[in-house]
């Protein structure tokens, strides 16, 4: 681990690669292979089988989608306390986080105007003329009744927040206790006392996962003692469980359980990421994860709708997955070109903790669809 206090070994930082890649896969599977057929009255037996044998017994709802989001948030928080706090670097890091949303939100607006079938929640909702503005200003989740254009876009907001507060921690490692504490306190205040709208409640419920990632990152840089991380971990747990209890719309999705799996898996990847992290496919998925997650409900969803006219579901979903991957690659490369002038992270590890040999537009985010009407593995009738 850290050779010297405050230094983060690239090996440790790259361990988040596996978590990020896994999270991306889970979300692409969840939305294209799980949710789409449910929304379009299509049955795909293998998915049903997975639900019966894995999702339902393990209590992982939404076809692993939210588990994937949690993994990404943990990785984002962990990465947010790596690198330096130089203003140009922090700015570059935040731009890299925001760019996929900046690109995809207008695309989503255009596709929607053209009548394309993009992922909208609720399914019969109408985003409205100002949806793209709301999306880009990151307030979609906070406006009651708003219908986001990029359903998966809210995680960008959480990542930006984690990136900002992470920069504050890097700037002042002595605040490694105060900053997470303040974040958790703020979340608790809004969540438990403020009565936020359902979409915001979901985002706030999951934000502590990013804070937990920050705490683990701080621990890995020896800015925090183990007992402090454990104590904060309990606070995170209390928030998750408390929110689950106080917000009926969240209760049926068993998020605390998914958070438990995600945290244990993330800790394991930090310990034993091994050769899997170094595998080219893992690195590729991790470095494009933010693009994948933003694109899946826009490009992937639309492509699947179009392909389904000509193909059975499985090949259509495979085509949609490939197109999403391709679009992510295009977005990644384009953004790399655009941001080449942005300051690179000091070390060989970029803002997401992924070795920045390929341009370092890495993290992804996704979002949640609280009103997903799928007979997911975890139904309320359990």
């Amino acid at each position: 681990m850290a050779g010297e206090r405050g230094e983060l070994r690239p090996a440790l930082a790259s361990a988040t690669t596996l978590a990020r890649a896994t999270g991306s896969c889970l979300i692409v599977y969840s939305y294209l292979w799980g949710l789409w057929p449910d929304r379009h009255a299509t049955r795909f037996p293998p998915v049903d089988l997975v639900r019966e044998w894995v999702n339902r017994p393990l209590g992982i709802g939404e076809d692993f989608g939210m588990l994937g989001v949690m993994l990404l948030l943990l990785a984002s928080g962990f990465s947010a306390v790596s690198g330096t706090a130089a203003p140009r670097e922090v700015l570059g890091r935040l731009v890299r986080i925001y760019l996929p949303l900046l690109v995809v939100a207008p695309v989503a607006a255009g596709l929607f105007r053209l009548g394309a079938d993009i992922l909208i929640n609720p399914p019969d909702g109408h985003p409205g003329s100002l949806a793209a503005v709301r999306e880009l200003s990151l307030v979609s989740q906070a406006v009651p009744g708003s219908v986001p254009l990029v359903t998966l876009g809210w995680v960008i907001g959480l990542e930006l927040l984690a990136g900002l507060t992470g920069a504050a921690i890097i700037r002042l490692p002595a605040a490694a206790l105060a900053v997470p504490a303040t974040q958790l306190l703020a979340v608790a205040g809004v969540l438990l006392l403020g009565g936020p709208p359902p979409q915001l409640a979901l985002a706030l419920t999951l934000f502590p996962m990013a804070v937990l990632g920050q705490l683990l990152g701080c621990r890995s840089r020896q800015w925090l003692p183990g007992w402090a991380v454990a104590a904060f971990g309990i606070v995170v747990w209390v928030l998750l469980a408390g929110s689950d209890r106080t917000h009926p719309q969240l209760h049926n999705w068993w998020y605390p359980l998914a958070a438990c799996y995600a945290t244990l898996f993330f800790l394991l990847t930090l310990r034993v990421a091994g050769p899997l992290s170094a595998h080219p496919v893992t690195s590729w998925l991790a470095s494009r994860s933010r693009w994948l997650l933003v694109l899946v409900g826009v490009v992937g969803w639309t492509t699947l709708g179009l392909a389904r006219h000509a193909l059975p579901f499985a090949p259509a979903a495979a085509v949609a997955t490939l197109v999403t991957l391709l679009a992510a690659e295009v977005g990644h490369r384009g953004a790399t070109l655009l941001t080449e002038r942005l300051p690179a992270p000091r070390s060989s590890v970029d803002s997401s903790g992924i070795p920045s040999t390929d341009g370092s537009l890495d993290e992804s985010n996704s979002a949640h669809d609280p009103s997903r009407n799928q007979p997911s593995a975890l139904r309320t009738d359990r």
């Binding site: 681990m1 070994r9 090996a11 440790l12 361990a15 019966e52 044998w53 894995v54 017994p57 393990l58 209590g59 683990l216 621990r219 890995s220 183990g226 991380v229 454990a230 747990w237 209390v238 998750l240 469980a241 689950d244 209890r245 068993w254 605390p256 359980l257 438990c260 799996y261 244990l264 898996f265 800790l267 394991l268 930090l270 310990r271 034993v272 990421a273 091994g274 050769p275 359990r382």
Partner: protein, 403 residues
């Protein structure tokens, strides 16, 4: 917590890690959880309000959707650790030696605990555990060799002993498969998976106790084999991909057992519990901090089998006697004190002497009679080790190299 990344190779190389101190901590935690489970169950059965139980339910059980009273958390940990530790030992003992050691480790303490349970049941001191008519000579006799689980009209004097049937089945299979395990380490787990699957398909009717026993054993055997797979992967005897594949197969067998019967599983949180346990064990294996290495943890770890056997009669007798008189809190403290005392007595006066006698007997045997060089090189407390995954220096297992 140390977040330092350990490369997979280091993690799995015993030489790089030596004793797994983390397993001692896991054993202790598991035994505490088992005691909690049975305390909570007793209060629940008696309609008492136990604040600790309510708090745990609210903070852990409900959010994680586990079985009531954390049921199966402790047992799954013990079963997993048992598979993990016993497999390691199997590479340096002959089949007969291996099986005899495990049985010798199990039986004396079991009989000691059964004797105590018999007396308590006979005087009707533990009605929640077993009814008075269970305390007959015939029942005791069948309980001594766990025959109560397979014979008609027999009942357990000590209900926790059902897990020993799973353990012994695993030991028997492992003993028989030792030659195979050494040549093709992945094969026994694969054969076991096939056997378990076929048995689950074949055994459906539970009109007599024996099929239920068989079904119970094959339902929980995958948990122990998961431990075996972890052990083989850790010692680099099988490739990680093979370990993942075998692990998934055994996990799905466990799911299948639950999906296809309701007679064995009491609650719907078994799979969730098992996944969490597997992840915690994988993480805990690498723990080696001051706490894990402390003498207290190791001493407690050595007593976990005794705790497992005696906590139920000790706690229930005290609770039955005292709760109506002094209330929940004080009777709980008294029950825990009784458990500690009973554990110490069983460990000091039954477990340890029996192990000493067995070691002495082993040393006295002339060379060549089941005492091969491999066995002779086993550390002194290795036979303390590995039986139930409960006892202690399980983690004491020394490094192996691929033969």
């Amino acid at each position: 917590m140390t977040v330092e990344r350990t490369p997979l190779a280091d993690f799995r190389t015993p030489a790089a890690r030596g004793r797994l101190y983390g397993l001692d901590v896991l054993r202790v935690v598991a035994s505490v959880v088992v005691v909690y489970t049975h305390l909570a169950a007793w209060f629940h059965a008696g309609n008492y309000r136990w604040r600790v139980g309510s708090a745990v339910t609210e903070a852990v059980v409900d959010p994680l959707h586990l079985n009531a009273n954390l049921g199966f958390v402790g047992v799954s940990t013990f079963l997993l650790l048992s598979g993990l530790v016993v497999t390691s030992v199997a590479f340096r003992e002959s089949p007969g030696e291996f099986f005899v050691r495990r049985i010798v480790r199990i039986v004396p303490a079991l009989w000691g605990a059964l004797a105590v349970a018999f007396v308590l049941v006979k005087i009707d001191a533990v009605p929640t555990m077993a009814t008075q008519d269970t305390a007959t000579a015939g029942q005791l006799l069948s309980n001594l060799w766990l025959g109560n689980y397979g014979l008609p009209d027999q009942n357990p004097l000590l209900p926790v002993t059902w897990t020993l049937t799973v353990q012994i089945a695993f030991y028997a299979f492992t003993a028989l498969s030792i030659p195979l395990l050494r040549r093709r380490p992945w094969l026994p787990a694969a054969i076991a998976a096939t056997g378990i699957s076929l048995t689950v398909s074949a055994v459906h009717l539970f009109d007599t106790p024996f099929p239920l026993l068989v079904r119970t054993i094959v339902s929980f055997l995958p948990v122990v084999f998961l431990g075996q797979v972890i052990s083989l992967a850790r010692e680099r005897r099988i490739r990680p991909a093979t370990a993942v594949a075998l692990g998934i197969v055994h996990f799905l067998l466990f799911v299948r057992a639950d999906l296809t019967t309701s007679a064995v599983f009491d609650g719907d949180g078994y799979q969730r519990t098992l996944l969490i346990t597997v992840l915690v064990v994988l993480l805990g294996m690498a723990a080696g901090g001051r706490l894990a290495r402390s003498g207290l943890v190791q001493a407690l770890s050595r007593r976990t089998y005794a705790v497992y056997l005696v906590h139920m009669p000790a706690c229930y007798a005290v609770l039955t006697l005292l709760t109506p008189r002094i209330g929940v809190t004080w009777s709980t403290l008294a029950a825990l004190a009784a458990t500690v005392a009973a554990t110490e007595v069983l460990h000091r006066f039954v477990e340890e002497p029996a192990n000493r006698l067995f070691r002495r007997w082993l040393r006295r045997r002339p060379p060549g009679i089941g005492k091969d060089k491999v066995v002779a090189s086993v550390p002194r407390h290795a036979d303390n080790v590995v039986t139930y995954g409960l006892s202690s220096p399980a983690s004491d297992i020394r490094p192996h190299t691929r033969s």
